[in-house]
């Protein structure tokens, strides 16, 4: 197994560290955890570089490692999920509430962040990291059909949540047409 050279490692880090960090940040909602996940991801990438099949694109391989490390991190951090949102209150009593009301982009982002981890995984890979559904399925380690239905279910949840505010989500790409 051939070791990775410093030049190769630096190039990979330069090209993908931001994407890995943003993936981890979105899923973990913590800049500190995201930094840790990024570091662990690239340690794994450098260590396992010899097992990577260079005939294939490298990014799904890197994202798969990042996703696995994120999941491992999150399963020890259930408190982040429980306490990611401030407690519900009937009255708007925080400064954000009083200044910011019915802002649609913020609302969509808020709803995306309320999705389950599985839904957020599929959404961030497909919509933000721009992976095709086939690549998304491979990174998630699930069949294409499951991936499609998971994405569809996430979009339906978003639409349902946002319907009351007349916010229509424009679904992305031709590859979704067959599932909608």
């Amino acid at each position: 197994m051939k070791d990775i050279s410093q030049e190769q490692a630096e190039a990979i880090f330069r090209d993908y560290s931001s994407a890995v960090y943003r993936l981890a940040l979105f899923l973990s909602k913590s800049p500190i955890l995201a930094d840790d996940i990024t570091q662990d991801t690239f340690l794994q990438v450098f260590k396992k570089y010899g097992s990577y099949d260079s005939r294939r694109p490298i990014y799904p391989w890197i994202y798969k490692i990042a996703l696995n490390i994120t999941r491992n991190t999150l399963r020890r951090q259930k408190w982040l999920v429980l306490f990611g949102e401030p407690p519900e209150s009937g009255d708007s009593t925080t400064i954000e509430d009083r200044i910011l009301k019915n802002e649609l982009a913020a609302e969509l982002w808020q709803e995306i962040n309320k999705l389950t981890l599985k839904s957020r995984e599929v959404i961030v890979l497909h919509y933000y990291l721009d992976l095709k559904l086939q690549e998304t399925a491979a990174v998630l380690g699930i069949p294409l059909g499951t991936c499609k239905s998971r994405l569809n279910s996430a979009l339906n949840t978003l639409e349902k949540q946002l319907q009351e505010n007349s916010l229509l989500i424009l679904k992305k790409g031709d590859d979704l047409l067959d599932i909608i």
Partner: protein, 327 residues
């Protein structure tokens, strides 16, 4: 009725594109070289095959299925008067049988601090994070079980009297159980009281706000947000710890306690905030936030305590907006 088309990817871009790791390549590379030397250590040569074997056995046991476990959670509510009240964690164990009253097996502080079961299946929870207090949780209960409809888990609870004290053994089904099919550990909780917390009101923290005005010429002027940090000492000029657009973007601070400014969405109403030396006060919300002004590398920064719902309701430490003086 107005409709809006919004692309999900543009919302992602708006919120994530500015985020960058504070991590440097050299740090990772040095770490890689350090750990690389132990690659063929005896420990790893033994541990890896053993772990692989265990994984294989687990795979066989779960029928080659690593899908997340989804417990049945649609149980009807059955009352259990013995569970009503406040419970406090005393131990975390692999098995209830390991419990020895007075002995805590866990070296770390117990994550779960308190649980409240109130009538009709409602629950409150407090965890050991800052001074976090009881707050609503997605958990509900029915006789013998705690249900989490969001995470799709049902966790058994069992109540026992030991040496005159009432204990609960509560299955803790976190991600290890859901995703990795591991046996859940048990929190042991001691009953504190039998009170019904149905009418429990989260006590919103309110600060003293009636301070006399004291001038602070250093504060006057315009300030532009550059970061949002958990503690003042974590701010590093030139790097951004919090990605994306910051909610608070600008303060315009005038004489006699006047403050205007901008958020990423709207102008801050003129009558929302006032200031006096050392404090920025929001009278309506009864919140007084401390500020500090520091000179760092020739620039002047304002550190402003951001007391949002986490502070007001859950007692967590406030984070800080960092604003740079506009020259």
């Amino acid at each position: 009725m107005t409709s809006f088309n919004m692309k999900i990817e543009s919302v992602f871009k708006d919120n994530l594109d500015d985020a960058a790791p504070s991590l440097k390549f050299t740090t990772v590379w040095q770490q890689h070289q350090k750990t690389g030397k132990n690659r063929f250590s005896f420990k790893k040569m033994v541990a890896v095959p053993v772990a692989a074997l265990v994984s294989l056995v687990v795979l066989l046991m779960v029928g080659f299925s690593f899908a997340a476990i989804k417990d049945k959670t649609d149980y009807p509510f059955v009352n259990d008067t013995s569970v009503i009240g406040l419970w406090e964690s005393v131990d975390l164990l692999d098995q209830p049988g390991q419990f020895v009253p007075g002995k805590n097996h866990s070296e770390d502080p117990l994550f779960l601090k308190q649980l409240v079961f109130y009538k009709d299946g409602g629950m409150l929870m407090a965890v050991n994070k800052g001074n976090a207090k009881l707050s609503p949780t997605q958990y509900t209960w029915t006789k013998g079980m705690v249900l989490d409809k969001q995470a799709k888990t049902n966790s058994k609870y069992d109540i026992k009297e030991i040496n005159g004290t009432t204990y609960m053994f509560f299955e803790w089904k976190c991600g290890d159980y859901t995703y990795f099919h591991m046996e859940p550990p048990y929190f042991v909780l001691k009953k504190v009281n039998d009170k019904d917390y149905s009418d429990y009101q989260m006590t919103a923290k309110s600060d003293k706000i009636d301070y006399p005005f004291v001038n602070d010429p250093q504060l006057l002027g315009s300030w532009k947000s550059v970061d949002f940090v958990p503690a003042i000492e974590e701010f590093k000029p030139g790097t951004k710890l919090t990605p994306g657009e910051l909610f608070l973007t600008r303060f315009d601070i005038a004489e006699n306690g006047k403050i205007g400014g901008m958020t990423s969405q709207k102008e801050i109403p003129d009558d929302l905030l006032t200031w006096t030396k050392g404090l920025i006060i929001e009278k309506k919300g009864k919140v007084a936030s401390k500020y500090e002004i520091k000179e760092i590398d020739g620039d002047t920064y304002l550190f402003y305590e951001w007391k949002n719902g986490n502070y007001i309701y859950s007692g967590m430490q406030p984070d800080y907006y960092v604003l740079k003086k506009v020259k």
